[in-house]
């Protein structure tokens, strides 16, 4: 898309989304409308079953490329851009050499399960919830802290180098900001509260690194970035097409989507349907402990304002299940075709697909679970399986909304959705059916990048306050429930039976 007269002459805000499968850059105008987009995928590296890595050097090269691409497509120059914001795949962990700027190992991606055994060991006699009070998180392979520990333990000589202060740790926000602001030439080593809240190393109540946990995890403080708010100027871009532009926001991708969906009031929730699915509910200044397997996390913090907290439920496999059906099973040739196939039948034919490929996430947190297709008979066709694939996403969302209602006491009145899968009309209708609540899609589906742009724009005064952002929000579509209660209850029961059958598959892990 090129800049058109309808966008005026700017100024603009750029946002980088360093995601799990690709990096992209989007340029937004003052109304929050997209002016241009550029995107590039990077390689997914699978060294062993359950291991997932990214080449951080490739990612940084791609980030530079998409920033240049988006600026060029918009037909603008650095002078038209007021700030750049960053949002990123969360928890993906990188250690690099502060003097050469070179990663010491591939980044360990959030989906990677190599730290399962380590997490059990770290739980000692307390178990998964050993650090929950401080961090809001259960001990699970998902979070960054144990990944840092694994790298320090397994890359030769790394612990010594880290203790000597030669090594820097960061999630992808830190890596991108450090490189943008000069890298070895004075790059800023920072992270924001939302990303820090996913390391299991930050105390939610003080918003600082927790010394006791650092000791328990054996992570030297010397590697850690400085924790900053989500919306402030961390530094300025050094080199490249945006030379001199303020780098003014960082938010983990899900928190960015919460921000982009303008869920600024307590009780507002959004769900993002991408590779995985993430639902976050704004809980205001309250740190709500979950007893239903949800995470307590930081929603965002604007400059010196009080931090805003959130409850989070995540589903590991949603969009990636459709990709798996396309790439590994060859059932469809594009992701969108799953809807075409699913629409050739009326229902799931009795089949249920629980994609616990790397265990079950919220509200179960069972790493011993593995995927199951239950209820198979000779009657079932690939079209029924396609239905079951889409329903899996809907039922998993239902389980999370149930848990949120239980923990927060707030009944969900409507769900704001975004992400690539919102283009799937059948899925959105199914979602509304099983939640028995309206499902609403905003007009800009790219809420993740928009959230980062909003935060950066607030930091530099491009937008005056969150009310101005709220007035940009527009409803693009709304799905309302059509399923009768009896069917819903029966199907939910069947789904839960199928979930039951995934557990305990892995008996003893290395």
């Amino acid at each position: 898309m090129t800049a058109t007269t309808s966008h005026g002459a700017g100024p603009f805000i750029a946002a980088i989304d360093q995601g799990t499968t690709s990096s992209r850059c989007i340029v937004f105008d003052r109304d929050g409308r997209i002016v241009s987009v550029d995107q590039k995928e990077h390689e997914q590296i699978f060294p062993k079953p359950g291991w997932v890595e990214h080449d951080a050097a490739e990612i940084w090269a791609n980030v530079q490329e998409v920033v240049a691409g988006a600026i060029e497509k918009a037909g603008i120059t650095a002078a038209d851009v007021k700030a750049i914001g960053i949002t990123n795949q969360r928890e993906t962990t990188l250690l690099w050499d502060r003097n050469t700027g070179e990663p010491v190992h591939n980044a360990i991606v959030w989906q990677d399960t190599r730290t399962d055994a380590l997490c059990r060991e770290l739980g000692r006699n307390v178990g998964q919830d050993r650090f929950r009070r401080e961090t809001g998180l259960p001990l699970a392979s998902y979070f960054a802290g144990p990944k840092v520990r694994w790298l320090l333990d397994n890359v030769e000589g790394l612990r010594e180098r880290a203790e000597r202060g030669e090594i820097l740790f960061g999630t992808m926000d830190s890596w991108v900001i450090w490189n943008l602001t000069g890298g070895t030439d004075g790059g800023r080593h920072v992270t924001d509260v939302t990303n820090a809240s996913r390391t299991m190393l930050m105390n939610l109540h003080t918003m600082e690194w927790d010394d006791k946990i650092l000791q328990s995890m054996e992570v030297p403080a010397a590697v850690l970035p400085e924790i900053r708010s989500s919306a402030e100027v961390y530094g300025h871009v050094k080199g490249g097409v945006l030379d001199g532009i303020p780098v003014a926001s960082a938010l983990g991708d899900q928190q960015a989507a919460l921000f982009g969906q303008t869920c600024f009031a307590e009780g507002e929730a959004k769900s993002t349907y991408g590779t995985g699915t993430f639902m976050l509910m704004n809980t205001g200044d309250k740190v709500i402990n979950s007893y239903s397997g949800l995470l307590t996390t930081v929603g965002y913090r604007i400059g010196d304002d009080k931090p805003v907290y959130a409850l989070e439920g995540s589903i590991a496999v949603t969009g990636s299940l459709v990709q798996w059906m396309r790439d590994q099973m060859g059932l469809v040739s594009t992701a969108a075709e799953i809807e075409t196939l699913a629409l050739t039948v009326e229902d799931n034919g009795g089949a249920y697909f629980v994609p616990a490929f790397s265990g079950l996430f919220a509200p179960y947190w069972r790493s011993d679970a593995r995927g199951v297709i239950a209820g198979l008979t000779r009657y079932v066709t690939k079209a029924h399986i396609a239905r079951a694939v889409l329903e899996a996403t809907a039922w998993q969302t239902r389980e999370i909304t149930d848990a949120m209602t239980k923990d927060s006491g707030v009944e969900l009145s409507a769900l704001k959705v975004d992400g690539g899968m919102t283009s799937n009309n059948l899925l959105m209708q199914t979602l509304s059916d099983v939640l028995d609540a309206p499902v609403v899609r905003p007009m800009v589906a790219e809420t993740t990048c928009l959230g980062a742009a909003y935060a950066a724009g607030l930091a530099v005064g491009f937008w005056p306050d969150t009310d101005a952002l709220r007035s940009n929000w527009r409803r693009a579509a709304e799905w309302t429930p059509r399923m009768d209660a009896e069917t819903r209850d029966r199907e939910y029961k069947n789904w839960l039976k199928a979930v039951e059958r995934t557990m305990g598959w892995i008996e003893d892990e290395e």
Partner: protein, 254 residues
């Protein structure tokens, strides 16, 4: 029986040869397998290559099947793929125009709405995905009838019902409207289907310039029209959106 065209038979034999066994074959292998002179084989291969049915490996000079064959075998564009590609652009169109946006494709004897973006004014609206619209009176239908020969014959054959006094029903008038649509690249429906409602649509093309659908904005005639004419900035916005989706589908600039 009329004699078959020899060069086409030879080309078909080449494609079969390349489709079986080894993936890549050199010119002399192909020529000798089919009992052709090298020059003859080369001429046919070059033609197939120009059409994209055959590709030549730049390093080894060997030939293999081209990507165009795959596209031929899988030629229709999945409507859900079309919606996914159009999502960003149609959102933007609704936002800039302030009206609702519909994406339609030909289905049986009418227009199937495959995507609908609400008018951005927070009013209560119902999702119209899956609804059918008539071919002869709506802007989407006229665009499809003007550009897609299959839609055209459907529209010509069906009974063109008068929904309002303004509906065009006679064949001559209808064909004239389609000529106008092709000439200016967009179609309108000013109270021809629904009283008080006006709409403007433009065609979406795929990478082979095939018409695969149409995009339209629809709204109250008082807002969409000015002194009885469609507002030119709305026409421009719809056409721009259609071009953006077409580009996303691989169509060249036009």
């Amino acid at each position: 029986m009329a004699k078959n065209i020899q060069s086409l038979e030879r080309a078909a034999a080449m494609l079969r040869l390349l489709a079986g066994g080894e993936r890549r074959l050199g010119l002399s292998d192909i020529a000798s397998s089919l009992g052709l002179a090298k020059g003859t084989a080369h001429g046919i291969l070059r033609t197939l290559q120009a059409e994209g049915f055959v590709e030549q490996d730049p390093a080894s000079g060997r030939y293999q099947l081209g990507a165009e064959l795959l596209r031929l075998g899988n030629s229709y564009l999945d409507v859900h793929e079309l919606r996914a590609r159009a999502l960003v652009w149609t959102d933007d169109l609704a936002r800039s125009s302030g009206e609702s946006v519909h994406l339609g494709v030909l289905h049986q004897h009418g227009v199937l709405v495959i995507h609908h973006v609400f008018r951005p004014d927070d009013s209560r609206q119902v999702l119209e995905v899956g609804a059918m619209q008539p071919l002869h009176s709506t802007a989407l239908g006229k665009v499809l009838s003007a550009y897609d020969p299959v839609a055209h014959s459907e529209a010509v054959e069906v009974e063109r019902k008068a929904f309002t006094p303004r509906t065009v029903t006679s064949l001559d008038d209808f064909e004239e409207l389609l000529d106008l649509t092709r000439a200016r690249g967009w179609a309108a429906d000013v109270e021809e289907t629904w009283e008080g409602v006006a709409s403007v649509a433009a065609p979406i093309h795929d990478r082979r310039r095939m018409p695969v659908g149409a995009v339209a904005i629809t709204g109250a005639v008082e807002r969409v029209c000015e002194r009885g004419e469609l507002r030119s900035e709305l026409v421009a916005a719809v056409r721009e959106c259609a071009r953006a989706v077409s580009r996303d589908l691989g169509a060249g600039r036009f």
